[in-house]
Subunit: 328 residues, 3 copies
């Protein structure tokens, strides 16, 4: 793997087209905090598969459009070279581009909306990072959440953007009674919790994402799987609606919390893992809370539960030694 | 003009009553970032005309009461002299004083409410500026928005303050289909977008405001007009309700964004104008989003879409050279 | 009193069990900013009496469980010794532990929820303090509000936690017309405004709380009583619903604001008292506003009106000389 990566790096250094491709692949990888083009490639495969399998190929197109638009905006805004090369200005754009066609019907105006959202996501990334670095905390996916919430809320006010046909596999259901547990639904919940990070309810996408994580960091892959398991168990114990759990809709934020706290921002260690587990369990509660809070507004929670909980658990960061490599 | 201003300055230096008048006039001008007594005088004319023409003279009285109360509170709190002299402690007070009688029925308690709101707006201005200066960003009209939102929300809980008779030309309508475009409605939307900064839907008020801007800064006047045009076009393209657009209710926040980013906080330059145009377009989206978000609470969006978008686009400010004169 | 306190201090220094008891008692006292074990003991008596008198003994148990869990979490997270000894990591935990069984039906899961909430309240205290110290402002009870809001919102999404049987003496009523004033209801409102700081509508609890304050600071006790009086009068003048006022539900946040601004964060002086009175009056407005804003979400305002108003009035703190002893 290392030899392949070095060979790739040499080719990128020689070709600006390949460098542009490299930056964009790393941008996809940074959705799960991985600065690695191979991770990005496997994540892209997961997105593409999940979109076609779910009957919404336009979602994969939207993700790519948002990614490239965000990278171009970052270049036009002359952002710092190191952050650009690491994909730190692309991961919010790809998420904006995936989310908008998931919840809005395809139209020419939708693609303009994706371009606007991707450009604003870069401004929001610069602004958020400028604020959060005051307390040595990363922007996480807050720029994606803020931009997409505003664009989706506004869609209710604009006849040109149609929310009616939104949904598909990310529909939100009313919380109700739990159903008797069955092992197939349980495992579906675990894997779809991982794929829903990219708004996909698809087990094959989840396996591609785990493979992508393992290429860059086995600890991250382990944290993702452990976080998904812990989230599904916690959600069942709290009596969340089984259909929501099995669709992975209560687990994608906890998965991100587990990766971030367990393997990215702190060095893995027993005390850190207990702390990350507490944060992962609490993210399930926050997911329930945010679902309830945003439901009357007709918008989804997106990854805000992850952002809120991770900021809460990262802000007192003096208590553990941070890892040397800072991530998104 | 310069000779007149110098003569006025000499008279103010000799008379504390004229100095107090000067501070209050500049406070009105700072609503659109202009530190100029002539601008304030023309803005005052716009407010007075718009209030009488709209059949709500009590709104103009409220604005003056809020302005003077805020200036007196600032003096009592011993704020910095430079900020006080520039009117930076008055612009939120005048807006609180205009907004409350626009949405609440006149009564003795209403005027007490205006006095309370104006006093708190000064505390909020000091507090907000103390926080936002951490990232070298101005308080903008956030103190006005926060104070007025709290006072209007609370009015739903208090029988002494009557929301029922509120409204007039600032009524919020349900978004619906767009109507065929006609040029008179289009131009009405452009001009009323400017006058709605002071909660007035009146073209003559808009012309007085443009004249007031031009007295102090032709670039600001040009940005206001260009921002209004861009906002009305964007809103039509997105399919916003025509009645809202033509009443100027989707354009007043974008007008403020255009002035702030295009002429106040950055030096006008091609790159800056593109950036300001992007921010202006996005402010229309944020206006739609905030309208949807606050509608269930029974309060108007006020200028929060301007504040949010401008903060978002000002926070990454390292990319352009800021102007030498810092404004509100 | 001083001799008793010194003798107690000597015993605590010699016994880790007594020291643990001392930390927890000070944690209860810090709910009203008092770093004194005697205050904590009288507050504990007030909580216990109020819970039994209100027919909800499980609430007192929840408070103790939350307090001890928070203190243990703080020790496990190796927080600063001075803050721990002063009870600064316990006051949010005791409030979480009182609030959850007040609004949720007793069950095994509820006590797990209290433990989770108490642990997270310590993380939130560290994180909030890390942010607010940037502007030399205390965390106040924001960690309690944030944690409890998330846990209560989430309870709507989880069948395992039952909101139906919540309420008792903290039920929220629809605001309606004011009733003719009667002196018994007026005095009930004043005293219950003090006891509702601990979610109790009970005059004897209020007297125990006033005694607890007086043990540590007569100025704090005077501010609490004056704040309650001012809040009840203001609420009546604004036309708030009499039943809400008489139950103390519009006065508990103003009581905290009055203590904090009048006796804790500023030295008592005429200018400070005017400022604190303005803040206390405005807290009544904010209480009305937050009640309206959170009602559709099915959660109570808790002490957020106090937190918001006190932050607003503390942020411009350069204007008065702060007290030498910094509090929670």
């Amino acid at each position: 793997m290392t030899a392949m990566l070095e060979s790739w790096e040499r080719r990128c250094a020689a070709s600006s087209a390949l460098r542009f491709l490299d930056i964009n692949l790393r941008g996809i990888g940074q959705v799960m905090f991985q600065n690695h083009p191979g991770t990005g490639l496997l994540f892209l495969a997961a997105i593409t598969w999940g979109s076609y399998a779910g009957g919404m190929p336009q979602v994969a197109f939207g993700g790519l459009l948002g990614l490239v638009a965000a990278t171009q905006t970052a270049i036009a805004l002359r952002v710092d070279r190191a952050g650009l090369a690491a994909g730190l200005y692309g991961y919010n754009g790809v998420l904006v581009g995936l989310a908008l066609p998931t919840f809005l019907a395809p139209s020419l105006l939708l693609w303009c909306y994706v371009l606007l959202g991707a450009a604003v996501s870069v401004v929001a990334t610069l602004g958020t990072a400028n604020v959060t670095k005051t307390w040595r905390v990363a922007a996480l996916t807050f720029p994606f959440v803020l931009t997409t919430w505003l664009l989706l809320l506004a869609a209710h006010a604009f006849a040109g953007l149609d929310l009616a046909s939104a949904g598909g596999d990310t529909e939100f259901l009313d919380p109700a009674e739990t159903n008797p547990l069955d092992i197939a639904a349980f495992m579906a919940g675990v894997f779809k919790s991982i794929s829903q990070v990219f708004l996909k309810g698809d087990a094959i996408s989840a396996l591609l994402l785990l493979a992508g994580l393992a290429v860059s960091s086995r600890a991250a892959a382990a944290c993702a799987l452990a976080g998904a398991l812990l989230a599904v168990i916690t959600a069942h114990l709290l009596g969340a609606e089984s259909a929501l759990i099995s669709a992975g809709l209560l687990g994608f934020s906890p998965v991100l919390t587990a990766i971030a706290l367990g393997s990215v921002f702190y060095q893995p260690a027993p005390r850190v893992l207990v702390y990350a587990a507490l944060a992962t369990v609490f993210t399930v509660v926050v997911q329930g809370a945010v679902n309830v809070a945003v439901a009357p507004l007709g918008i989804p929670a997106l990854t805000f539960p992850f952002v809120l909980t991770s900021w809460l658990f990262l802000l007192p960061q003096q208590h553990f030694s941070p890892t040397t490599e800072a991530a998104s």
